[in-house]
Each structure stands twice: as structure tokens, then as C-alpha cells.
Symmetry: C2
Subunit: 308 residues, 2 copies
DNA sequence: CTTGGGTGTGTCCTTTTTTGCAACACATAT
DNA sequence: ATATGTGTTGCAAAAAAGGACACACCCAAG
């Protein structure tokens, strides 16, 4: 991409926060970079950066402009993938941002299945906290987000959504495993293993506790869901997770899932989305289609069970 | 715009149909232009043009790419206008494409009123035939279209639409002016003045004639609606036009409008639209808002009349 | 079939633009 | 005050783009 190289420079400076730092990243001298920034500003007759003693910060005009730049770059990728697709080969890169509850289980299988059909498509998969996930989408650094308990849904377009009732994950030989469903008080009194405040699962539990006047004090708190599940498997306590149908893994036969008693805890909201009005690259779009199909299938299966 | 100059070159070549012709337009030598085109193709690793003995034609990949380029350019204009708008001054350029029935009467007043509020906004206003209007929109060479009897509505997003019953325009002292409404046969037998086939008004009349088994032979045929109205004013025959409420002009007191008898002729479809999913520059968007408001006002007024 | 005018493209050389290096002016934090 | 960071600016070198011309090619008319 030799053209719109100027735009890349602006983007790099905006990210780095200073011209010198960006120059290092771009492997050119600060003076050259500075002159290009000045040239662009003069050319557009618009000031983009606020010069500060400790670097540069985007102007309000610059905010609009950088958004345009990133949209342009993402759109070029989309065009490239479309062109590749019309020659028969599906190629491209799908960037997925998720919250921590999602990552390890649902997506890998789906990605593997997709890559079996289209080996030319590569994936990047990153977990952030809820606010950052939405920001990734808006900065066009992610094509698709899969998140639990979205915060604002601003500028997001829903691909698929589903209510999710939290289940308790506990060791198969745990005394409480004998019960078909658990009460919230039992969960809280048997060493609850919870993610930190701010994460979707934790907030749902907190809300339920407030509603019932209970005190939520996790025995172990970690932002690593896999770690919490592992502890649960060892009998260290009770973890929480999205329902079995979504996140079951054959390697965890010693871990069982039990629902809460009805209405004791509010269901959560599992959300798959993209940026509003954005046209995704073909690979991302097709993958999003599969994701949606999978959720629809599961929803139908669940409603079928409910009907019985 | 020094950056994305390469893209402008590609666009110019695509328009001109040959590198040499485009080079002339761009005021550079063909060899230089050729090298840039080759460089871009190599850089993208995509062939964009089919080399032909009598010039170049866009590849199917090139079709996608040129679309991307034009979208980029239009989007940059949008960003510029947004930035100008946040500094308080509304500035920009609104490009309107219409069919010939529209041009001379409805829009000038609205544009004048808009420019009275925002003198920094300039307008360009061009009339095409129906197919070309839609193409102007798709090529991003027009921001807003106002057209009568749209053909395909492909990739178009409706801003406003309205049914329009055709009226006969005739001299105030014409014998038929005594009638409150006219019959189709009377119209056809008193020197009909019509636009050529392919235009919306003509096609409506033709359809009505086929339905009634009548023969439509215009006394005078012209693609200049103002000319036809002028002839009608002189008593040369009967012209057709959109209803009085839309196109009346105080300078034409000697021209009166009479509707057809009910159900003798199908109503037409007046359409105001933009490109699907496109975000317009602020000036264009605000003008489109006014256009829509004006139509809504008129629709309400008409329904009020009908209710009486 | 030949010819003429059109095309895209390669090569040499000139001109313009961009870059790297070093120095400067300035603001902030220690 | 000093030290360290910032953006910015000459000046010379390097790189890229442009112009002029020639070549090979194809198509249509003569």
C-alpha cells in the first residue's frame, strides 16, 4: 500500500501519541514524519493535532478525520477480499473481539470448522473487558464482537443475540451436584469463584444478591475463566459459566453444570455484532453467518426442549 | 488532495477509457500515467484494467475497486463538510441529479431559500434521463436525486416519495380550458405536446393509450419541458406536467392546468432519494431534510383538501 | 494485403519531491 | 536549575515522479 501512506502516518501518530514515537514505529525519522503531517494539515487546510509539550493529541476535527482514515483502510481490505472471492478462493482475515466469558470454548470449534472449509482465511481472537470490546469495533480494529452483557450497544449492529441463563459449574463429585438446580444462597456459601466486578457474569450475580439482600463475597476472584473452571473441577468451589450447550467441552467430563432455581437470577444477554452500517469483508461476513446459524439452531433446539 | 492522487488517476483512466486520453485530461504524459497505473496494480497485486488495442476497460475486479475509490472520495468530502460544520459555518456543495420533468421550477425556489440561510453552500443541478440519474447516484457523482417514475430503485434509499397525477397544461384562452377536467381522447386530438419515449410522463400516457386502445401521436415532441410549456401557452397544443402545487410559477398566469377524468390515466411516482447506506455531507443532508419537509407539508395539504 | 492512426509500454534523462541528519526553541518533570 | 522530552526547521543527499521519444502491437479503412 504505497498510496494512502500519508493516512497510515496520521493513524500511527494518533496511536503513538507523539510524532517521535510514531516515527520509530514507522522506521523513519521524526522530521520526515513531522513534515508529512504538516503537509497533510496544510493540504486539507485543517488542523488535525493539538501540539502539546509531551506529544500530540487529536483535535476534534482530527477525531473525525482519523475515523475516516480507519474506515477507508478497513474498506480497502473489504474490497480486496471481495476481489479475491470473485476469483474463487476465499481469503482474508477475521478479527474477533470478545469478552472473557466467551473466548475459550465456543469459538475455537467454529473457527476450526470454518478453516477446514477455507484454509486461506486466518483469524485473530482477543478478549477485552466490556468497554474495550465496543471500542475495538468502533476503531475498526475488530470485524465481529461476541460479548456477554454489552454495555451501550452504541453504533453496533446485531448479528445475533440470545438470552443466557447462568449455570453453576462444579465438580462431578461435589455434594451439591446431586441437586438438579441450585439456590443462590447455596452458591454463595460454597466458595463462589467469580470474575472481578465489571465483568458481565459478576454484575448479574451482584444484582441478584442486592435484590435478595445477600452479600456476595467470592472465595477466589480471577479474570481468567479457565482458571476458575479448573479450580471448580478440583473442588475448590463453585464457578459460574454460560450454559452447557454453548460452552461444553468433551475434555471436561468431571465438571457438571447446574442451573439456578427459576427466577433467582436474571438471564444475561449474549450478543454477536458488527459495526453499524459497515460492510464486512467476505470472510468475516460468511463467518458471521455461520455464527448466527449456529445460534439460531441452538435457540430452536432449546425451544424444542421447552415445548416437550 | 495530494494523497490518494493515485486513486484519482485510476478514476480518470476508467472514465476516459484510455490512458492517453486520461493523460491529456490530467495534463501529464501517457508514460507517466501508465507507470502509475502499473505501479498500483502491482502494489495491490490485482489486475484492474483489461488492456485492449483501442484503450483499456475496467476489469471485474476493477469495477469493485473503482467503486471503492469513488466511495472514498465522496466520504472525504463528507468528512470535510462535517469538520466545517463543527466550526459553525455550514459549507459544502450539493450535487443534485433530476429527470427533465423536475428541473426548472420546484428546485430553484428551494435552493434559493436554502442559500439565503447558508450562503457557503453551493449547488450543482443536472437533468438526465431516467437511467442516467440512477447511474449518477451509483457513481457517487450526485448526492441527491429527484426523479419522476424511477426505473429500478436499485441501491437507492428513499428520502421522500409521492404519487403525482399528471395535469394538462394549456393556454388560458384555449376552448378546453372551460372544462374542469379533460378526457384522454380530447387531449390526444388537440395537438398533444409530449416528451420523447423513455421519459416518465410519456410512458404513462402511452400506457393509458394502450389500455384504452387509443393511438398516441404527439403533435410536437421535445425533451425540453420548458419549450413544450411555452408552446402550450401560445396555443400550439396541450402539454403535460406534474400538478400545479409542485410546479406552478407566478410568471405563467396565462397557462392553466386541468386534471384528467378520474382513472383515465395512472398516477406517476415522484421520488427523492440518495444512495443506499451512504452518509451524506451535512449540507446535502440538511437540504434533503428540507426537501422532505416540503413534500410532507404538501402531502398533508392535499389530504386536507381531500378530506373536505 | 498494406497503410495509417490509434493504443500501451519501455528507456533515458531531467525535475521535483521526500528523506536523513543535525541543530534549535520550547515546555514539562525532577 | 537541570535534564529530558517534545515539535520544528535548514541543508544536502537520495528517491521518486515526470517528460520526451521510440518501439511493438492491434484494428479499421484503403
Amino acid at each position: 500500500m504505497r498510496h494512502m501512506l500519508a493516512l497510515k502516518y496520521v493513524d500511527a501518530v494518533a496511536r503513538a501519541g507523539s510524532i517521535r514515537a510514531a516515527a520509530e514505529v514507522l522506521a523513519i525519522t521524526p522530521s520526515a514524519l513531522n513534515r508529512r503531517i504538516l503537509a497533510i494539515e496544510e493540504e486539507l487546510d485543517i488542523e488535525i493535532f493539538e501540539r502539546h509539550a509531551l506529544g500530540v493529541r487529536l483535535n476534534s476535527a482530527g477525531e473525525l478525520f482519523i475515523h475516516h482514515i480507519r474506515a477507508q483502510m478497513a474498506d480497502l481490505e473489504r474490497v480486496r477480499s471481495q476481489i479475491a472471492d470473485l476469483s474463487g478462493v476465499r481469503i482474508g482475515h477475521v478479527r474477533i473481539a470478545t469478552t472473557k466469558e466467551i473466548g475459550g470454548r465456543l469459538l475455537p470449534r467454529l473457527i476450526q470448522s470454518y478453516r477446514a472449509d477455507f484454509p486461506g482465511v486466518t483469524f485473530s481472537l482477543h478478549a477485552y473487558d466490556r468497554g474495550q470490546v465496543e471500542q475495538q469495533l468502533q476503531n475498526l480494529e475488530a470485524d465481529i464482537v461476541v460479548m456477554f452483557q454489552p454495555l451501550r450497544l452504541a453504533d453496533m449492529q446485531v448479528i445475533s443475540h440470545q438470552q443466557q441463563h447462568l449455570s453453576v459449574a462444579l465438580a462431578a463429585d461435589h455434594p451439591l451436584a446431586a441437586h438438579a438446580e441450585l439456590r443462590l444462597v447455596d452458591f454463595l456459601e460454597h466458595h463462589p469463584l467469580l470474575p472481578p466486578r465489571g465483568e458481565g457474569i459478576r454484575e448479574i450475580v451482584e444484582a441478584a444478591c442486592v435484590k435478595k439482600g445477600l452479600n456476595c463475597k467470592p472465595a477466589i476472584e480471577s479474570d481468567d475463566m479457565a482458571l476458575l473452571r479448573h479450580l471448580a473441577r478440583q473442588g475448590a468451589g463453585l464457578a459460574l459459566d454460560l450454559p452447557l450447550t454453548i460452552s461444553a467441552s468433551p475434555t471436561e467430563a468431571d465438571l457438571v453444570y447446574r442451573p439456578f432455581k427459576a427466577n433467582e437470577i436474571e438471564p444475561g444477554f449474549l450478543f454477536v455484532g458488527q459495526l453499524y452500517k459497515r460492510t464486512l469483508p467476505v470472510a468475516a461476513r460468511k463467518f458471521a453467518d455461520r455464527l448466527r446459524e449456529m445460534f439460531e439452531l441452538e435457540t430452536n433446539a432449546l425451544s424444542g426442549v421447552a415445548a416437550n
